[in-house]
Symmetry: C2
Subunit: 482 residues, 2 copies
């Protein structure tokens, strides 16, 4: 892809489009370290805006941030058996430090349950010390063989919440509370509609009792696991001696939860809203929500339009993130093209004739329409217009998802036909056996994303498993997934 | 130290006091990984408040945040010779990942010049791509033999700014601009007065042309290097082929700067303002600026005082960070003690008699005085009172520093006498030779902190070096340092 050539169309090669869209928007870049990415300022600003919003939502539920070491003794990872099996194969290991071999190798954290619950055990004596509600924003490392920017990288940024409770119901309540926080954040902020539900055993977090997940459907009809919330039961508490003196006087193990979302969400954003012109940022997390492009030919016009352009930015600068692209020696068309690729929701064009008529032309990134807005109406109009874009992006994504969601599949032939075609979500009866999951995966690479919460079922009550025809235990939502 | 015993007095053992004050305030804790700390919520909140303020100051100067990999190929570190010598002995090295030995070991970043300028080289073609003004908030690892919470830990959190410029003067201007940003931030926000100036060659950053530093003086009269700003010249640009096409058509190497402050600042804060009761937080970065302690004996009184206490918090909650400590089964005195140790700037006591009289008693953390304030005046009074505390903490720290700053030392005998006594800053003539630095260090463990900017010299113009008696090249500010 040359600097001024169009992107590969999504319909032609979605994967090529994805990589090109990221490069063109300058969201991220490959680093010289295998599988590790560089998040460039435009991409990092999106992450910062996500962090700010999500962090406030956590704090409203009583969560406090903290920071735990990037290194975890290998013996800690080994203590919880399933956890070890899940994470050991993909760890990066420090064997030397300060010029000497280490007595015990240190793992660069792939996730921090072990070291965090070890510290909790030190801090918790009695029921009065519970609950502990902690979150950390951190980098984690999981050595991946096949990597893709944002979606699967050897290092990524995330938040990981870790809590300890006195009772099982409290832990379950927290697990579901956070699942709800995630869903609201994704829908209200990223305009990324998700279905929620329980994971099947085969997709449960290594060491957890139960994993709940938020799953989105991308524009290529592949699903993306966008965030997970785990009820860890007492598994880690027992390995790390996280006990408390109950009010009754007995010594009890605490109940833990953990939950996380990562920079993968930026990948989800790109694949939910992007089009053949590039990235589309929902206004709430657009680094710039509106860009003013002044248009001039003569020096006299230049002065006039720049005055109006900067006047608009000054007037609106407190209400929205607005920028004047006043670069000289660059044609307006080239500027349009650049800001479109970066996904700025609104473009304002100000030429001499617009100045004469006392208006600007506004162009929405998400549709082909230009509307004049009078200068004196901008302050009231633009924030409203951005809210409309935000709402319509969510609605459009939800409609696309529902158009690719199938709730009437009763035979395995029909099931396979769907995944030989456009794919999407198939909601269908499942007998509960891992054998059926394995068969489907082998045949089609499709997996159970979640056993969806009731609101997503549309009242369906299938009686048989779509794979084996046996008695259905539940409804599963199937899809190919990133 | 038991949970309810006082701290070791500062005058008795400053180092013991420091560790106990941190534990008692629950700012941080030792982790099971040698030399790595856990930053607990109260400490992390201070860091977040620092980040928020400093980040805004950076952005005002055009800096954007980004994120680069935690791993750096060993060969990158080896490319800049001085850089290698400075950092290689203290790196942590990943030799295995994904279950296999790596072809090339990866260093966990001790600082990111090398990998960042390698990326800059990819992004920069012409002068139009300059300057690049980047910052990252990240964890870094420097394997330390003797560690102290916040001051010297194997892993710490920091920000590292990295810029590339077309000309040397531009790079020098940026280096000094950031030095000024740091100083303002430290003084206005941390109430930590610092002297600024150039480092001597022996203390210059490994690979830099020039290093400038902000140096504070702690309550034990030891200096703390609180932040540094480096003009890197073209050293890294030459090793990483960071070139640009100049307007003239020639191909030139860019000029770099880098600058950083870290969680060490929290240590500086503790040692600047703390007293025998514990930590003292300047209001601007206090996680809680005021805590209301309701006092009751009967249930009837309890209801009345809690109503008033929560009413105050509701009324002031948007203006200041205020908290009601309404824990049952805990005496007011125990609460006072706890919030004092954590350094909350203002305590409001509300008992039945206060309610009757329509006021609360306000107690400042930084002095022994209690003042009644009428309920209806709180909204105007408290923000003002916090500003006063902020200003007075800075002033008090500056006075302490100046009381321990010596500008009249002309003989080495007197110099040594000072460091056999209370120590502090000695401003004295220096011949410029590393030999004199080494001699002083060997004799007294004292080092040159900076060659101070003129405003700190009080007009002194020494003619001879305080160590060797040779001709003075400049004034140096000496001190024992953390």
């Amino acid at each position: 892809m040359g600097k001024n050539k169009g992107l590969t169309p999504q319909a032609e090669d979605f994967s090529a489009w994805y990589n090109e869209a990221i490069q063109k928007a300058e969201l991220a870049d490959h680093s010289p370290v295998r599988g590790c990415m560089v998040i460039r300022p435009w991409g990092y600003r999106i992450w910062e805006l996500m962090q700010r919003d999500l962090d406030a939502r956590f704090k409203e539920t009583g969560v406090e941030n903290a920071y735990f070491p990037v290194f975890i003794p290998l013996s800690f990872i080994e203590r919880e058996k399933e956890h070890l099996e899940g994470f050991a194969p993909e760890t990066a290991v420090v064997t030397h430090a300060g010029g000497k071999p280490l007595e015990e190798p240190l793992v660069v954290r792939p996730t921090s349950e072990t070291i965090i619950y070890d510290m909790f055990a030190k801090w918790v004596q009695s029921y009065r010390d519970l609950p502990i509600l902690i979150n950390q924003w951190a980098n984690v490392v999981r050595w991946e063989m096949r990597t893709r920017l944002f979606l699967r990288t050897s290092e990524f940024l995330w938040q990981e919440g870790h809590t300890a409770h006195a009772t099982e119901p409290e832990a379950e309540e927290r697990t579901l509370l956070i699942l709800g926080v995630y869903r609201e954040f994704m829908e209200e902020y990223l305009a990324l509609p998700v279905i929620t539900g329980l994971k099947s055993s085969s997709e449960t977090f290594a060491g957890a009792l139960r994993t709940y997940s938020c799953e989105g459907l991308m524009r290529d009809n592949w699903a993306l696991q966008a965030g997970t919330s785990h009820n860890l039961g007492q598994n880690f508490a027992k390995q790390f001696e996280l006990k408390y003196l109950a009010e009754s006087g007995s010594l009890e193990y605490a109940w833990n939860t953990s939950w996380g979302v990562s920079t993968r969400l930026i990948g989800g954003l790109i694949m939910t809203h992007g089009d053949d012109q590039g990235v589309v940022c929902p206004p709430r997390l657009a680094p710039r929500q509106a860009v003013v492009v002044p248009i001039w030919k003569s020096d006299e016009d230049r002065a006039r339009v720049l005055e109006v352009a900067h006047g608009i930015a000054r007037e609106l600068g407190d209400a929205i993130r607005i920028h004047v692209d006043d670069r000289d020696k660059m044609k307006p068309g080239a500027k349009y093209y650049e800001w479109e690729a970066k996904g700025v929701p609104l473009r304002l064009e100000v030429g001499p004739r617009d100045v004469d008529q006392g208006h600007v032309m506004t162009a929405r990134r998400d549709r082909r329409e230009k509307v004049p807005v009078k200068l004196e109406e901008l302050a009231a109009d633009l924030p409203q217009r951005l809210e409309t874009i935000q709402a319509e992006l969510l609605e459009a994504a939800r409609e696309r998802r529902e158009a690719s969601s199938h709730r009437d599949v009763t035979t395995y032939d029909r099931f396979r036909e769907i995944y030989e075609g456009d794919g999407g979500f198939v909601y269908a009866g499942w007998c509960g056996s891992a054998a059926c999951e394995e068969k489907v995966k082998a045949d089609t690479k499709v997996t159970i994303r979640v056993l969806p919460d009731e609101e997503f079922l549309g009242g369906m009550t299938p009686e048989t498993c779509v794979v084996c025809g046996g008695k259905a235990q539940s409804v599963a939502a199937w899809a190919r997934a990133y």
